[in-house]
Amino acid sequence: MTTNSLLNIKNLSTWIGNNEAPIRAVDGVDFSIQQGETFALLGESGCGKSMTALSLLRLNPQPASDIVSGQVELDGQDLFTLSEEDMQHIRGRRIAMIFQEPQSSLNPVLTVGQQIAECLDWHFDLSEEQIETRAIELLDSVGIPDPVKRIKDYPHQLSGGMKQRVMIAIALAGEPELLIADEPTTALDVTIQAQILDLLKQVQRDTGMAILLISHDLAVVAQMADHVAVMYAGQIVEIANREQFFSAHQHPYSAKLFDALPTEQKREQRLTVIKGNVPELNKVFTGCRFADRCDLAWQHCHDAIPKWYQVDDQGVRCHLYDPELADKQENIRQTKAGSPLSEITSTDKNILSVSNLKVHFPIKKGILQRVTGHVRAVDGVTLSLKQAETIALVGESGCGKTTVGKAILGLVSTTDGQVHFGKQVLNELSERKLKTYRNSLQIIFQDPYSSMNPRMTISQVIEEAMISQSSGIKSKEERAKRIDSLLERVGLRPENKYRYPHEFSGGQRQRICIARALAAEPEVIICDEPTSALDVSVQAQILNLLREIQHEFGLSYLFITHNISVVEYLAQRIAVMYLGRIVEQGNRNEVLKTPKHPYTQALLAAVPKLEDDKNREVIRLEGELPSPAAPPKGCHFHQRCPHVMAKCLESYPEATIMSTQHEVRCFLY
């Protein structure tokens, strides 16, 4: 394995805090990366994957953390014995790094060109003209149009995808042998993610550099990696090449990660969840770190630390693979399907319908603050939601899907159109009258960290939702009883109700938000990306819970999301939004299996898949979402559409009915 390995990491440990109980964020990590390959470090948040990457560049936050042991060899040279000055010739020159948030990773007061140039200037002996030529070359090579002009732009003048391209250009400036990409596409939309992943592959082909890809996304790893290492609680629990990993992963934790993914095949069952939480890392482990959460664990797992078992190209840290415990190995392939959960059937009763909804935000200019234009966030959306139905509203960031949700609830005022709830037109009611309907429509927000008042106990948070309703429970004792039962319903212990939000994990907080929504006894819940801030295993718990309570209370969901696999698992109908309008809507099967609108087709094609499907048509969208303040004339999508025709430039297409359940707005049909 060491014949032509570029980077060898042995027994790397980085601890945070130097008190008596330091957090062992990285605890004895070994792996090696071969020249020119992509090595993926896969794991959920907090498992130590970013800290591993920063440590090997000796960029771990100091003095907060300390590399306590280990060896990192780059081409046989031990990086940890180098002086800080020598290390500066490694960073950016032989090992470069790009980060998750291109937004904040670029210096806001330096131009893009300066940020590339300073890197060239530092590492190479070049004249000023040479530096400028090279910087333009680099921008060109990462696919930035018109690089000569763009080189004078500041980061804020570029979109998120463009910024990540600039980050890659900066990384390439040093002509590194290894590029560390720390969640390079997590903050980006799926069509932009596809562009960036393609770019990374192309750059790798051109330069032959190796990539250490850090990701939590199995599908991204499936597309990119040659080797995969799974990290859990500061340790690597499994290393395999891609084919082995995606066909025959060995560690029970890896298996759980796959099972927790929502897919269409699992619609008839609950998603597998991993019980319990990641253990505290501030203690010395005497057994397997995963033992408490593992279905296959037995006493031995709690008593003895598992060794690393290597078979060919695949290694695993689990007692099940101990040759001396051969009798246990029959357990390995024993996979448990999630418990069944029948699909809910919606009734024919239309509970909520939105017709021609428009939300325009004025743009004010000049001395008198005259309105000079409008941001057409939502520009004519028509939707209807039946009782006990789930509609997924899908689209990229900035398409207006969240504004639709807020407009339905009356949280932003509508410019035009109507929101019908039963017989009432909600957006024409007075604030007072609207209040009597507020309990029927509830919302769960994306970020469970900021959607609760940090100064209120969770009991108060939930109680407030009851008090504010006119039909709410009047007696305090009954409310307390109901809070207990709600907390139990969402899987939290009622004893904890006097705690504050910050004492709970992200998943638990989202459960509290669900309990708060349920407290109002709603008929419709608008779920605004409720799982996108959560890890896959936590997402599985929340999705299960949402489906269970839908059964129990006959709830209807408007599920706003950009995650197609969640849609596959959860939705009955899908509406695809582009620049303030719904371009295609229909039942799930028709939209996902036979997408008609070129945008839907491209969006679905951009979603990375676990299976290596060679026959898949590759549709790559060029460019990015135009500004809703100045939408293109005619069909909004024509600038990016591969099938653009003359009339697409002239007028917006009317809806074409494809079937009773499927309509699309495109001139192709």
Binding site: L57, L59, P63, E85, M87, Q88, H89, I90, R91, G92, R93, A96, M97, F99, E101, S104, S105, L106, N107, P108, V109, L110, T111, E118, C119, W122, H123, Y154, H156, M167, I170, G174, K364, K365, G366, I367, Q369
Partner: protein, 327 residues
């Protein structure tokens, strides 16, 4: 940008009228025009007649805010002390002090000693504070940093009066390097202004350096600083090119906002060192209950402060490429 500036200037008028009204109300809540006349004429042997003459000469015989004896509505509002004395301020006609001197002329001559102290104090203070803060940040989380912060807190905790009196005693009286107080024209002023400048700088080190240190540390924890380190830059280069450049934005704009008010001088320093600047001018006027000067100085201060705020907004567009002033 032009539209923005015009709008800001229009906003300034209601603020200035409000400031004027408030100064007027506060002053005449404790004083009556009769009190002012007695103060000016001297307490002894004063007759109601002489008070009335004094008031009439200076226009203080009218109603304060509302003239109910006037014939029509326009006169009821305009034939008053407030209207008479305040409106001319907007064309920078400050009128005369109670002893008859021209306030505008006074301001013109007295602003130079104020500037002679305020400008060097600001510039030297800025350089000292930034250097000290950068030093603490470069050695962050070591004993150098800890010691620096403790020193800052000690300097902050001591009243600036102590530095003034202590400085005068030590440097002026014991060592006799410079005179204790006073002022002269031209180059001779240097020996009088050195001590106030040094004391002004020292008194500001504590709060200034500590604030700048916080700004630098905040910038140093930003993602783009991590990017800069990943590029292989040395700590010094990261600090100067990336951290300093971004942290200078709030520092510079914080300086720009006080630039216009430098004219106003320092109330305490000037009084203690006997500098004939605008700061001591204001203090003296308050003691003499000279409403004309107090009002003029408050008005001038407000105008300069508003001007400073507009200047700050404009300076943002120069140092921060993300900021644009639209309408």
């Amino acid at each position: 940008m032009l539209a923005y500036i015009i709008r800001r200037i229009l906003y300034a008028f209601p603020i200035l009228i409000g400031v004027n009204a408030l100064t007027f109300a506060l002053f005449f809540m404790v004083n009556t025009p009769d009190d002012m006349a007695r103060m000016q004429l001297g307490a002894k042997h004063i007759t109601q007649e002489s008070i009335d003459t004094w008031k009439q000469e200076r226009g203080y015989d009218k109603a304060l805010l509302w003239n109910s004896q006037a014939s029509n509505l326009a006169e009821k509002a305009s034939d008053t002390i407030f209207f008479d004395k305040s409106l001319s301020l907007f064309i920078f006609d400050f009128g005369q002090a109670d002893d008859g001197r021209d306030i505008g002329q006074d301001i013109k001559t007295r602003m130079w000693p104020s500037l002679a102290i305020a400008v060097p104090t600001l510039i030297i203070g800025l350089m000292v504070n930034i250097t000290f803060a950068l030093l603490m940040v470069f050695f962050r989380a070591t004993y150098v940093d800890l010691g620096g912060v403790i020193l800052c807190v000690i300097i902050m905790s001591i009243s600036s009066l102590f530095y003034i009196i202590g400085g005068q005693f030590l440097v002026g009286k014991l060592m006799q390097i410079v005179p204790i107080s006073g002022y002269s024209e031209g180059m001779g002023a240097i020996k009088f202004i050195i001590l106030p400048i040094i004391i002004g700088v020292i008194a500001g080190i504590g709060s200034g350096s500590r604030w700048y240190r916080t700004l630098f540390l905040e910038e140093a924890s930003k993602d783009y600083v991590r990017t800069a380190r990943a590029k292989g830059f040395s700590e010094l280069r990261v600090l100067f090119r990336h951290v300093l450049k971004n942290a200078m934005i709030p520092i510079l704009t914080g300086v720009v906002v006080v630039l216009p008010t430098l004219f106003m001088g320092s109330l305490i320093l000037e009084s203690f060192f006997g500098i004939p600047g605008l700061g001591s001018y204001t203090i003296d006027a308050i003691q003499a209950q000279d409403f004309a000067i107090v009002r003029a100085m408050v008005f001038l201060g407000s105008v300069l402060y508003i001007f400073g705020l507009v200047l700050t907004d404009l300076s943002y567009t120069l140092v921060d490429p993300r900021v644009r002033l639209d309408g």
